[in-house]
Structures are given as structure tokens and as C-alpha cells.
Amino acid sequence: MSDTDEPPTLQNTLLKVEGITKTFGTLKANDRVDFDIVPGEIHALLGENGAGKSTLVKMLFGSLQPDSGTIKWRGQPVTISDPMDARALGIGMVFQHFSLFESLSAAENIALSLGGEVSLSRTAAEAKRVSDEYGLPIHPDRLVGELSVGERQRIEIVRCLLQQPELIILDEPTSVLTPQEAEKLFATLEKVRREGKSILYISHRLEEVQRLCDRATVLRLGRVVAHCDPRAETAKSLAAMMVGEDIHDVDRRKAVPKEPAKQQPVLVIDDLSQPPTGPFAVALRNVALEVFPGEVVGIAGIAGNGQSEFFEAVSGERLQDRPERIRIRGKNAGHDGPSGRRRLGAAFSPEERLGHGAVPGFSLSENLLLSRHATDGKTYVGALGTIKSRALTSALERIVQALDVRKSEADPLASSLSGGNLQKLILGREFDRAPALLIANQPTWGVDAGAAAHIRQEVIDLARAGSGVLVISQDLDELLEMADRIAVMSDGRLSETIPTETVTREALGLMMGGAGNGEASAKNSPMLPEGTI
């Protein structure tokens, strides 16, 4: 966007951001950010985690205030002091972590953002009209807590459209959708664009951005590094702009395992079924799987289809009815807890890093000890249970070196590390033991592209060195990149594994949708009719 054509487009420009700066402590989250949006365009905002995308849109939506710089709406400088102001201007937002109320019905959720005393029945009727018009099926009377992620997102979008915004901000909208659901979303967005409305589309999925967006603004470390036409770029060049360096492709050339069938599996899961642990949990049904040394097995699926329950069962946080349900390196482990399973050679990396994978208020070396005391007790714990801090510090140093963990001081608190660095540390802690089996849940969730590539390479290298690896992930691209075989978990059932060479995204998407197209939770609420709105 050169400055020369600014005067003629000024009247046309819907939103113009000039020199926005926002500082948190010593961190410049946004540093003199400029960009503009014209009516009827889908504008992409690209950047890694921590590049400042969220900070920027929070300022556009009034949740945060810029330290300096101006926001112009239709050529007029405006102050957006809260979300109500943003809405009054005509800015709507669909949040990544939805801003919905689970205990309220869809219609009530929509009514809350409309303002004024609008009756619920009228709100529901309006919502139905909009949902029909844009092809976004919703059930106004259902409680949001009972709905699938896809339907929740539809409610957010309907709620947003009902306010007749000129600009809709979508934050990572496809991260929770199946490929099929994403297709439907794109169709809706195209329709919104045809009506002359503008969309600010935040994503780090480059194919989507290239397909959908007219222009892109790329952020890195809080600064705009490029304005470009995403269609004129390649996915690789866009990624390079985001990261500031070429991303190394993950190397899977050594991927051929040596006749796995003749080896003994490191993990056998034998017809594992278990009832749900709570009202919002999923039952596991007849899950069976084998993982051999030297291979990476991926488990795909949309969030909430039993992956967390599966991880809990395999890691020993929940014990099985019979010891032989889970066998690690040929030994029955179904009645062993996590420490017992670690002693058999397994290693675990849970999805939730803080609070599950690491204790936020403990230092890194203390966190190191927490998962190693069972397997390497002698190394790190001396007489009378004294902690050998020197041994811990040197192990920490080794892990930090091996995985390039970036930290501000020698042994900081786990909570002070960024998501990617903490994940590297948690995985590094397990790699350091050279486990025979690694089970990782969402290993690169919320981790920026550079660190994610590094983590994936390390995981593959571990497998090539002879360990068995099981990766649970919602990111299909990640699984297609890493895994030798992929199975899909849907509504607590695990499909057969399919070799990665023969699988297509579409086939996986259909399997992920299951019979109910991702609405697994609907089956759990028989008190409600399945009818249409």
C-alpha cells in the first residue's frame, strides 16, 4: 500500500489504522502499526503467535486502548473505548475463544449483544432469518453448553451479523472446524463480502488466506513487515515473512520403519472402553491400537471427541478395568499410574502445559524433578529425600541446549516461559530420558511456526532413533507432516489406522465429522428434540 494513492481512496477507506503502538511493561506488543481496510474486501492479518495480532484487534474492538496512534473510521478519527463503542460504529467480532455463555440458550446469547428490550421470541425469529439467509443452521432454544464447537461458532457469527456490522473481525475461525465445516464458513464469508461488508481475517493457515483474502498485512514482533496480495505470494514466501527466516521443512525422509510387523509393539491398547468421567466427558468405546518402535502414529479428531479421555487412560491418570487393557513394552500396565507407566519406558506430554504438564509456580528444575523422580530417582534424589540440585541444574542445561529453550534467567518459573518454550522444555524433559514410548497430546498447540517445526522434527527424530510415538492433534497438517499412520477419533471411537501416504484431507475430514457431522454432543442430550429451528 503505497502512500501515493491515499487521497482518492480516503473516502472509500472503511478503517484506517495509523501508527498504533501498545506497550505492556517492556514489551512492545504493537509498534507503529499501519494498515487499512476498504469496503467489500477480506483482509488477512497474518503473524505468528505473539506477533501482536490479538493485541491489535482488541484495540479495534475496544477491549484495549492504544498508547498512541489513531484509528480512523470512514475517514474520521475515533476513540473506541469499549466493545459497545465498536459495535455502535459497525465493528463486529467473532472471538477465537468464543464469548458465549454456556448456561444460556442460543437465543439468549444473541439477545445479550443486541441491546434494548428485545423479546426473546423476536430475537429467535431474527436469528432464524439471518441463519437461513447465510446458511448457518442454529438451534435457538438449545443451551450453548450442549452444542458442538462448530455450532457455537455459527451462533457467534449470527450474533455478529444481526448487528449489521460494516466490518467483521474473525479470529482464527477455522482452528476448531473440520475441513467440511470450514468450506461452509468460506461460502458464508464470500456472501458477506458480496454484500459490500468487510472482513478482517486473522489466521496462520496460509492456504486459507491465499484462497479467501484480497489483501494481507503481515505482523512480526509487533511491527508490520509487509502489505501484500496473498494470491501473488506462495505459502512459503508468506511464511518466511511471518517468521523472518525460511522455515525448514520437516524431514521425514528417514521415515521408513524397519518392518514394524516383525517387532514387538511398544504400546498395545486392547479393546479399551470406559464410561464418561463427568457430565461433559466422552465415553471411550472399544479403542484398540498398536504402536511399534520407530514409527509415529497420529490421532486426528475435533476437540471434545474423547482425545482428552483417551490421553488420561493411556497416561495412567485413569486406571483401566483390567491390567492387560494397556500393555507397554509387553508388560500389562492397565493398573499402573503415570509413574508406573514411566518406569516401563513411557513418557507423556499432556495438552495443558501449565497446571498439567508443569507446575506454574515451580522453577524449571523443580518441574524437571516432578516427572523424573520415578524413573531417575537415584540421579536426582539423595539420602533422606534431599534433592540433588546440581544434577538437576545440569540436566536442565542439557535440555535447554538440546531444544533451544529461550528463557530470561538461569532457572525461571514455568509460568514465565512462553507457550512454545515451555512446550519445548516439557518435551525435552521426556526426550532426555530416551523413552521407548512417547505419547504427546497437542504438542504444538499455540506454538509459533518456527518452534512448531523444531518440535515436530525432534519428535520424528525420536521415533527414528527407535522409540514409538503417539501424537494426538487437532491439526491435520501437523499429523500429515509427522505421522506414518493416522487414526481418527470421533465420539469416543478410534478408527483403523491409515498409512499417511494413502490418506486424503477430505477422507479424514469426513471421518472426523463422524455420523453426526461433529455434533457428537447432541446425542448426549435426549431430553431435547433434534428438530430444526
Binding site: S103, V118, P279
Partner: protein
């Protein structure tokens, strides 16, 4: 005999119902105020004192309401503005209230109190059995029933009530939508304090028109239990309050008549009922999800 017992049940149940109604609104906004007992006793002492000074039990009632509301603002400032731990703050509010009221009320001990006279509605109160029960009660009884209807209507049929439930369900989402989370919670806490104050006023102006230290005798805690017992639904609160009230009265009569049931068992009954109801409601997933304020007790600190 039976009529006399039923009459006293309503008198015993009214302060429980009032305090619980206030706490229900507070908890629906996502705030857990364990200081109900403290706010009640402050209402009781202020009500008694103001009635003594002015010679009017009505002035006493007003003072009770104001004292409860004022005291709740201390809790509000600490937990909402300073984001302190709600459980600890609520507990200290109760301890502070019990101590402070004892000090303020020292000179009131032994004084004869002023009683808020009952209102017998002409005609209706003549109906046999239920007439006296429903239409010849003290004014606060009528207020408690009217307030129950009002709270029920407010919570479920008004936009402000929807906003209240939304804030209690997720303050993060509410803030993102531009709802004024802190302001809404302040108003809810203020209402809870006023109700608890009125409940205390009922004790020192109607139930036993006198002042004794610790005269709330754990009723604030019962009110807290009632809110959970009622699964945050106003009508169930009435059932719960009258159940607790009935057991309290039955205890007195059982003792007087020399019935062989240990009084401790009778006092424990309502709590057993609360546990039973809790188990029942938690088995209904939809009911639980719909009515339990999900952000109950979590402090809210907006991002800046």
C-alpha cells in the same frame, strides 16, 4: 394448636427466605458472599437501635436495610474493586459483623424492644385456617413473598436479569460483549446486603423484639445453604426456607412435649435434605448447567 405452630413457622422462615433471596441474586452474578451472617447481625443491631432512638419500628426496619447494604459495600469494595479472595473476605465480614454488633449493641441488652405489628387484611384473614396464616402476618412476611415474585420475574423475564445471569456464567465473555461486569456485581452485592439487613431487622423487630449478642444464631449460614438447596431458583427457596423454618419450630415443640427424638437429629434434618437435593440436581446435567453460576467465586480483573 396446629394454627399457632403454622403461624410461627412463617415467622421463623421469613428471615431465612429474605437473606437467601439476596444471596441468590449475589450468587447469580458470580459472587460468593459468605458474609450473610455478618450483614444480618448488623441489620439486627441497627434495626433495634434505630427503633429505640426514633420510637418507630419502621425507622428501625429502614435502618436495618441500610446497615446491611452499607456493610455489603465493604465486601464489594474488597472483592470487586481490589479483587480479594471472596471466601476469605466473606468469612471475615461475618466475624467482623458479629464482633462489631456486639460492641454497638452492648447498651441495648435487656431493653424491651419495639415490635413491628402484624397486618391483618380485613376479610381475607377471616378465612378459616389459611386466613391467619397468609393474611394476618407481619409486614416483612408480605415483603418477603413480594420480593420472591419480583426476584423470580427479574432473573428470568427481564433483560437486566439475563445480563445478571450472563455475568455469573462467564465474566470474561460478558466483558468481551461490553457488559459492565463490576458495576453489575456491585449492584447485586448491594441488593444482597439490603436483603440480609432486612432479615436481621426481622429478627430484632418481629421474631424476638429485643437485642442479644449473636442473635442471628447461624441463620445466615442456613440462608447460604438454602441458595444451593434451591439450585439458585427463587421458588425452591420458599420451599427450603419453610422446610427449615418448620424444623426449627418442630424442634421447640418436640422438646416441650418431651418427644423422644434427639433435637440434634431434627436440627440436622434440613442439612441432610440439602445434601440429598444436591445429589439429585447434579444428576440432571441440563438443570445443573442452566442454573449453576459457572464463575461463582472467581474474581474478575479486566485486562488493561
Amino acid at each position: 394448636m396446629i394454627e399457632a405452630i403454622l403461624l410461627t413457622i412463617a415467622t421463623a422462615a421469613t428471615p431465612l427466605l429474605l437473606a437467601a433471596l439476596g444471596e441468590l441474586v449475589v450468587e447469580r452474578s458470580g459472587v460468593l458472599n459468605l458474609g450473610v451472617e455478618g450483614m444480618m447481625i448488623m441489620g439486627a443491631v441497627a434495626g433495634f437501635g434505630a427503633a429505640q432512638l426514633s420510637g418507630s419500628p419502621w425507622v428501625g426496619l429502614l435502618a436495618a436495610v441500610c446497615a446491611g447494604a452499607l456493610f455489603s459495600m465493604l465486601f464489594g469494595f474488597l472483592t470487586l474493586t481490589l479483587a480479594t479472595n471472596q471466601v476469605a473476605t466473606g468469612l471475615s465480614l461475618t466475624i467482623l459483623g458479629l464482633g462489631l454488633s456486639g460492641m454497638l449493641g452492648e447498651s441495648f441488652v435487656g431493653l424491651p424492644g419495639l415490635k413491628l405489628q402484624a397486618w391483618a387484611i380485613p376479610g381475607l384473614s377471616e378465612i378459616p385456617l389459611i386466613g391467619k396464616l397468609l393474611f394476618a402476618q407481619d409486614p416483612i412476611f408480605y415483603i418477603s413473598i413480594a420480593l420472591t415474585v419480583a426476584v423470580w420475574w427479574f432473573v428470568f423475564f427481564t433483560r437486566a436479569g439475563l445480563t445478571l445471569r450472563a455475568v455469573g456464567d462467564s465474566h470474561v465473555s460478558a466483558h468481551a460483549l461490553g457488559l459492565r461486569v463490576i458495576r453489575i456485581r456491585y449492584l447485586a452485592v448491594l441488593f444482597g446486603g439490603a436483603c440480609a439487613g432486612m432479615a436481621g431487622g426481622h429478627l430484632s423487630l418481629v421474631y424476638t423484639p429485643q437485642w442479644t449478642e449473636n442473635m442471628t444464631a447461624g441463620r445466615g449460614w442456613i440462608a447460604l445453604a438454602l441458595v444451593v438447596f434451591a439450585s439458585w431458583l427463587p421458588w425452591r427457596l420458599v420451599a427450603g426456607a419453610y422446610l427449615f423454618g418448620a424444623v426449627t419450630i418442630a424442634q421447640f415443640h418436640a422438646q416441650a412435649q418431651g418427644v423422644g427424638i434427639p433435637s440434634q437429629f431434627l436440627s440436622a434434618l434440613p442439612y441432610l435434605a440439602t445434601i440429598f437435593v444436591l445429589v439429585l440436581i447434579s444428576s440432571n446435567r441440563r438443570m445443573t448447567m442452566r442454573n449453576t453460576p459457572a464463575s461463582l467465586g472467581k474474581p474478575f480483573v479486566p485486562e488493561r
